[in-house]
Every structure is written in structure tokens, then in C-alpha cells.
Chain length 414, copies 2
């Protein structure tokens, strides 16, 4: 019988593991709670009304339509892993495996303040992005109906100055100044205030200090208020209170802080404080050479939780299984890039550090290159070109809640 | 003081009324519950995963960014109209008017069976379309996980064979055969059964019988089961029961029947059984020459509830207000077109009746022409061309429920 490889999660890690197994003598099953792979690095552009969800999402089945050994794509949530019997439970189905690749990733964490989630939406799923988009666009509309409360309605607080927070803050300024600026009569959207709050002493803490300084300068040139060394102590419907006691009245708070690994991690191994699974050098779990953990869920010294690392880990395990030869994983750092808005970014590519327009071009080229699927690449390019030429937002529509949506629960028989 | 014109609804009728007032000495306020105009005739393409919501939606503010006399765009739901004081209530705001144009349209009706709505989604809003999309795509995914129940999971019932029902039935066959066909292993999507149920004795009842016959033939060539003279007596989670007693086991039921006018109608005039307002020949309400009703909400003898009629009515009232001269409304019937799937349609243009590919080309050209806004036209063209060349669906992603979405309630101050 052909070895059965079960892959949990079709993010960058899981997808690349499956792709690396192309042509191998295995039967592959991919299990994900969604029917699509999401190009996460551009999700903030969906939240900021520049792209549509399907511009950056691609059906898993379509990705593998020409890869015969991907035998099954199963939609559902993993509720149990039986390491002894080698069985994964998904709803009322059990799926046996010979090799298990766990790539269920991470989501944002509210540091024990889950009550903040409805007020301060985060950015991990397509629904998160649409929720964020509706919050932001509605704030401008509400300001136009209620000029007396316009100061609060036009204040946007972004919590967390990692790459996502920096991207969101830059995009918010662009929306206020360029997209909305000329379309309101009773309120001036350009007076919108964007506040970026970060607990560490600089923005983009994982980067070298010179790039953090460049990013901060670029943000401030755009008009973003950057508050470092600032922890949030309270978030409510009317604004944010900092640990210093400072109060920011704001109708919109966006959450870009904290990482919490998927709960599947603790089903397959020993986890660290962030919920990530400790792995052997070859990315298998200790004592279970048939179980691998890849991507954001894996705790590997010196490997950041970024898309290129996830892709490399997935590919590594796929290749090992195909060749039958175990090797330690080695992360190749191809550099870091963070964008701050149109024509602004910072880059650190093999020690060559630069900011501004050139960094932004590099960012643009790399993201377009990596977008999987011909269609996505072309449409995203057109959307961007249009956006760039006209300063408009292509997807500036506020949409709400589909009723009785079967995708909000795991698919179930009957 | 400049006359204050308040327009309720930014559909085809309201939008065209405002456009016809361009350059007039009026202050125009547009009130809608959504921030965008929706190109309703292509909404079924969003439901069928071929287009994105923002491909066919355009922000109201952007439509009027260069029309100075559109002074205000207000998001909200109209809760009261005071005809004596000439005031419209929207949330806790009251808006005074000198002229009122009511264009709040119609939605689908479940004929007193509102309990069917969660099981059999209709198609009026973007959320409806995404709900329908998720139902349909999830049915295929569930069939793949549960082969024993696959017959029921792959049966799709469309209730109502008007233009929307015919379009949905044709598109469902295409999805099953072309989009899904090659991407499933354990289940054969091409065995999907599409049943179109209609109470009248033919499909497309408003059309001439020869075109109804042509449409039926084209539907049957595609493989659709067409049941005419068939009323639905019960819908539940497992299928549909017809008045004849026939039972169809089906996991997906789509609702394309019934029309119910907006409740704003009864706030401004006398309504007929369908909730539409009786109007004078110039589209004003009896005894209230300053109040007009246009579009699907107006009951005008011989004028169908279609987009061209709504556009003409809106334009008529706008022009009358601009010129100050009252004239009876005359509907110019430019013909009827209904599409049945790729390269299939029926057309009735000034008595010239034809079906098949030529009718489809006419349908395509007219819909692209009318799509407002440069961006929409180009992107829709590209999306379509891609779809046509590859038989794929560009927007085949199942999305769920954004959390705590402020757009799901009318915007409120604070």
C-alpha cells in the first residue's frame, strides 16, 4: 500500500509540503477548515479596501488539480489526533496516516483580554479583514452624519507595530487623505488621526534598529502618531487607555499584536508558552519520527514566523518524505521587507538595508511573484496599477453578515 | 434657499434621478442603507462564484464625486416619513425636504413562509449572494466527504423560473460540470442534478411563449430538470415537497420567486397587494405633487420591474425637477434579455426574437455597457474572458460571517 500522508492546514507550510511531494509514491490528504489557500501577506490590503478576498485566495482543489497524488481535500476542524493509532479526527470522520504534517499555524492573541476582540478586530482570516474594512469605512460615514463626534470617529488606533501594524497605519492615512478626501462635504476626512501603539521601544522590533528608525521616520512623514514603549491597559467602545494613563478617544481600534499558536499543537507534542511545538532538527516531533510540525506552529530557534520560513519548512519535509532521507532543516534568510504605504517601505536583504521607494518596489515585485496562480497575479497587478494611478480603493464596499452561512461551521454530513 | 431634494435609495432609479439633476439648482441628499450602488442584474454571478461583490458594487460617494449638488450621502434605514412636515426620519436624524424621490425598491417574498428563508436563500443583497455561494460550494465539499449522501448533496433546487431562476439554474450546471468536474476524486460532481421549479405553465412567464419555449429547450440541453405548473408546498433542511406530493431530496434550495416592495412605500402612499405605491402619470403620489415614487416600488400599468424601467423612471423625475415641467412618464421597452449560461440566452428586442449564442452576445454587450464606472467594466471584462477561456470560477471561495460588523446595523452616532 502507498504511504498515506495527511497534511493539516493549507497555508504556506502545508501547501509547500504537498507540492514538494509531487510525483512521490504517496497518497496525500489535505485537511483545512477553509476551501482556499490565503495569501496572508496581502490580507491587510483586503482590510484596507484595496483588494477583494478572492484576489488573494485560491481554492485548494484548484492548486492541486494537476497533482494526482493529492487524493483528498477535506474541509473541517481537527478535534483530535491519536498518535498511537495514527488517526486524525475531523468532525465525525477519522483519517488514518502513516506520516502526519501539522501546519495549522497561529492566530492573533489578545493577551488574556478576549473581551477586546469584538471591539478591536484582528487580522488573520478573510472575515477578519472584511470586519476591519467595515469598521474603518463605517467610521468615515458615521463622522459625516455626526460632525460633533467627528474627532473620535476619525481617530484610528492600531495596536502593535510589527509588519502588519505598520502596514495598516500607513494604509489608513492613505484612505483618509486620498480615497475619502474629495467625497465628503460636511466632514474633512483628511483630519483623521492615526495612532500606532507599540509596547517595545521601536517599531518593527524584529528588524535591525536602523530600519526601525527609517520606518518610524516614514510613518511620521505620512502623519502617523507613533507611540512606542506604550502598553494598552484597556479598550472599550469609546477608545483606548494606555498603561501610562493616557486616554485616546477613538471609534476604531485595530489589533495587530500577539501571536497564539493553533490548538492542534498540543495534540501532537510538547508546546512552549506561545503554544508552538518543540521539534527535532528535521522538524519531526521527539519520539514520533512520522509526525512533523512546520510553519508558524513549529518552535525552531532562529526561525521567524514569516511566510518564507513556513514555505521552506513545508518544502523541507515534503522533500525528505519523497527521498526517504532525513536531514536537519536549515533556514535561509532571504531578507525582510515591510511596506508602509504606497512607495514607502524598508528592506533588509542579506545585510543590504534600504528604505523608501526602492524598498517598496522590491516589496511589490516579490509579493506579485509569489502570488500563486496566473489569474491572481494579473488581476492583482491591474488592481494595484489602477489604485496607484487614481488613488482610489477598488473594493470600498461595506458588506455585512451572510445569513445561515454553512461555512461558519465545519462541513458536516447531512 | 435652494430646493432640497431627498432621494431614498441608490439603486437604478434613485441613482438616475440624482444624475439627471446634475447642474440643477437643488441640494440633493441621497439616503441608502448601504454605501454602494449595486449592479443587481449581475448579482447572480457573485452568487455563482464568477464575480466579486466589488466588481458590481460602486461607492455612492464615488459616483457623485464630481456632481457638486449632491450635498450629502447618508447611510441609514428610513423609519418614518412625515408628509405634512416634509421630514424623513433616519435613525435619530430628521432630514427636511422640498421634493422627495422614493426609490427603495423591492425584495423577494416567501409568500408568507418566512421560515423558508434560512433554508432557501434568496438573491437581493451582496450578503444574500455570498450566502448562496457558500451553500452551493459547501454542498460539493460535503458530498466529497460523505459519498453515501452524495445524491442529496448534489441536488440543487431553484424555485422560480423568472430571469434570476433561469440564470441560476444554468450557472449551477456550469459549476458542476466545468468548474468542479476535474477537481474531485471520490465523488463525481458532473452527476449533480439541477431542478428548476415554476408555478406557471412555462419558464420566463413575462416573455412571449416562443422565447419561453426556446429558454426551456436550452435549459434542458444543459441538463436542467424543468418542472412547470409546480408549486412548492414545503421546504425543509432535507429537501422540497411540491403541491403534487412529489418529494425532491436536496441539500441546496435557492429562492428566485416572489417580489415584496419596500416598507417605505406604505409611509408615502396607498399600496397595492405587492406593496407597490399607486402613482399619478408623472410618477408623483396622488395629492402630494412633491413626492415621487420610482423604480420597482412604483405601480405603473404596463411597466415591468426591471432595471431599464427603473432607470427611465428615475431619469424622468430628475429631468422634470430640473426643468420644472411636469410630463407623464412613458416607458420605452428596449427589449428583454435573459441569459441561461455561457453562450445561451433569449432576446426579444423590438419584436425581433432570437435565442442562443447571438442573444448571449447581446446580453453580454449590454451588461458590460451599463456597468457603471471604468474600473468595473474593465475588470468584469477580464474576469469574464478568463472564465470563458478556462471554464473556471474566479471567486470560488467560501467565506463566512464577519464578526461584530458595524454595517449590519444602521450607522449610529457614537
Amino acid at each position: 500500500m502507498r504511504p498515506r500522508v495527511v497534511i493539516l492546514g493549507a497555508g504556506f507550510a502545508g501547501l509547500n509540503a504537498a507540492k514538494a511531494l509531487k510525483g512521490a509514491e504517496d497518497d496525500i490528504t489535505i485537511i483545512d477548515r477553509r476551501n482556499f489557500h490565503l495569501f496572508q501577506p496581502l490580507l491587510y490590503q483586503v482590510a484596507m479596501a484595496a483588494l477583494n478576498p478572492s484576489d488573494i485566495a485560491y481554492p485548494i482543489r484548484s492548486v492541486f488539480r494537476n497533482q494526482k497524488n493529492v487524493r483528498k481535500v477535506l474541509l473541517g476542524v481537527v478535534t483530535d489526533v491519536d498518535l498511537e493509532q495514527r488517526l486524525v479526527t475531523v468532525g465525525d470522520e477519522t483519517v488514518p496516516y502513516d506520516f502526519l504534517i501539522v501546519a495549522t499555524g497561529a492566530t492573533h492573541s489578545y493577551f488574556g483580554h478576549d473581551e477586546w476582540e469584538p471591539i478591536a478586530p484582528g487580522l488573520k482570516t478573510v472575515e477578519d479583514a472584511l470586519t476591519m474594512r467595515a469598521h474603518v469605512l463605517s467610521a468615515f460615514e458615521r463622522a459625516d452624519s455626526d460632525p460633533e463626534d467627528a474627532d473620535r470617529l476619525l481617530t484610528f488606533v492600531v495596536v502593535g507595530a510589527g509588519p502588519t501594524g505598520v502596514e495598516l497605519a500607513g494604509a489608513l492615512v492613505e484612505i483618509a487623505v486620498h480615497a475619502m478626501g474629495r467625497e465628503f462635504h460636511d466632514v474633512d476626512p483628511t483630519r483623521a488621526r492615526v495612532v500606532l501603539v507599540e509596547g517595545a521601544d521601536r517599531v518593527l522590533p524584529p528588524y535591525v534598529p536602523s530600519l526601525s528608525a527609517s520606518a518610524r521616520r516614514q510613518l511620521e512623514e505620512l502623519g502617523v502618531d507613533v507611540l512606542t514603549n506604550s502598553l494598552v491597559s484597556e479598550i472599550d467602545e469609546r477608545g483606548v487607555t494606555l498603561a501610562s494613563g493616557e486616554r485616546i478617544e477613538a471609534a476604531t481600534v485595530l489589533w495587530a499584536a500577539g501571536v497564539q499558536a493553533s490548538p492542534v499543537g498540543s495534540m501532537v507534542g510538547e508546546v512552549d508558552r506561545a503554544g508552538r511545538v518543540r521539534v527535532e532538527p528535521d522538524l519531526s516531533t521527539p519520539g514520533r519520527p512520522e509526525v512533523f510540525v512546520v510553519g508558524d506552529l513549529a518552535a525552531v530557534e532562529g526561525v521567524p514566523g514569516v511566510a518564507p520560513a513556513a514555505m521552506q519548512m513545508g518544502r523541507h519535509v515534503g522533500r525528505m518524505l519523497k527521498s526517504g532521507e532525513r536531514k536537519p532543516f536549515r533556514y535561509r534568510d532571504k531578507g525582510s521587507l515591510a511596506t508602509i504605504g504606497r512607495a514607502r517601505a524598508v528592506a533588509d536583504i542579506k545585510g543590504f538595508r534600504f528604505g523608501g521607494f526602492l524598498a517598496w518596489l522590491a516589496w511589490l515585485a516579490i509579493h506579485i511573484f509569489y502570488l500563486i496562480g496566473f489569474r491572481n497575479r494579473v488581476l492583482v497587478l491591474i488592481g494595484w496599477a489602477w489604485h496607484y494611478l487614481t488613488f482610489r480603493r477598488g473594493a470600498r464596499i461595506i458588506t455585512g453578515v451572510p445569513r445561515n452561512n454553512p461555512s461558519s461551521r465545519p462541513p458536516e454530513p447531512g
